[in-house]
């Protein structure tokens, strides 16, 4: 199942992972160590973050390093900006409607 970005960042551990790898790419083992978690638990979080493309794996020798995908986060912010714009447009329409109704009533 495709993971939702909102769901992915609603978890405090996953946000902490993102904050950490935004500074430096890490292997799953390094993440487990930093967060004092089992490899299994880390793998679950990585899976969620990877599925919504917030992180990307880069093979380096025998190790896989996970990098933060800033573009995906920007895309998300862009969508939110559009959502805001839609509301603004609708509310301006409502302003006009309200003033028309008020004129008719007076």
């Amino acid at each position: 199942m495709k993971q939702d970005i909102f769901h992915a960042i609603s978890d405090p551990t996953r946000r902490a992972i993102l904050t950490l790898i935004a500074i430096q790419a890490l292997t799953p083992n390094a993440m487990a160590e930093k967060f004092d978690m089992s490899r299994q638990a880390v793998s679950k979080h990585i899976k969620v973050l990877h599925q919504c493309e917030l992180i990307k794996p880069v093979q380096s020798g025998r190790e896989i390093y996970y990098h933060f995908n800033a573009i995906k986060m920007k895309e998300f912010d862009h969508w939110l900006a559009q959502f805001r714009q839609n509301w603004e447009t609708q509310f301006n329409q409502l302003d006009q409607l309200l003033s028309t109704i008020k004129e008719q009533q007076s």
Binding site: S10, Q82, F83, W87, Q90, Q93, L98
Partner: protein
């Protein structure tokens, strides 16, 4: 026209919640009607050049509004809003889901809460949207993109004629 009217839009990404606040230059009863009567909602409830069309609306607890947003090409995106709580003129809550044209809902949806309050002849509306998913937002906005591009093109044409 509305420069002095408050407009706030905040997103708490970690709580999956969107907060919207807007003031309107009208009394609470009228603003309440504009948000709860189909014939008024359809006049402002979709950003132009999109339009809203309500097939039916029963504004009561357990009742539903079944409506579509339609783009200039005539494409329709249907949604169902089910009212879960109503305190007349002050507050209402609903559960919002996308649907097909036969009213089959696509779960899960999101929870919406509206609060209305009046001060000095102005009405403040606070909207909280819980558990909105990015995927849903994307879907919602897909339909708008075409509309927006069109408006911009119209504007460019207009500016060209004026210059």
């Amino acid at each position: 026209m509305n420069n002095d009217l408050l407009f706030d839009f905040n997103v708490d990404k970690s709580a999956k919640t969107v907060y919207i606040t807007r003031e309107f230059n009208a009394g609470q009863s009228l603003v309440w009607e504009a948000f709860t009567k189909a014939e008024l909602l359809d006049q402002w409830g979709a950003p132009a050049p999109m339009r809203a069309k309500t097939r039916y609306m029963n504004f009561e607890v357990g009742g539903r509004r079944f409506y579509a947003m339609i783009n200039p090409e005539g494409q329709e995106r249907w949604s169902v809003q089910e009212y879960t709580s109503i305190t007349p003129k002050t507050n209402f809550k609903m559960y919002n889901t996308f649907a097909d044209e036969n009213e089959n809902r696509e779960m899960p949806g999101s929870e919406w809460e509206y609060n209305f309050s009046e001060q000095n002849g102005k009405t403040r509306v606070d909207i909280t949207i819980f558990n909105e998913s990015f995927e849903r937002l994307e879907k919602l906005l897909e339909g708008f993109k075409i509309g927006f591009t069109m408006t911009l093109e119209n504007l460019e044409e207009l500016l060209a004629t004026l210059s």
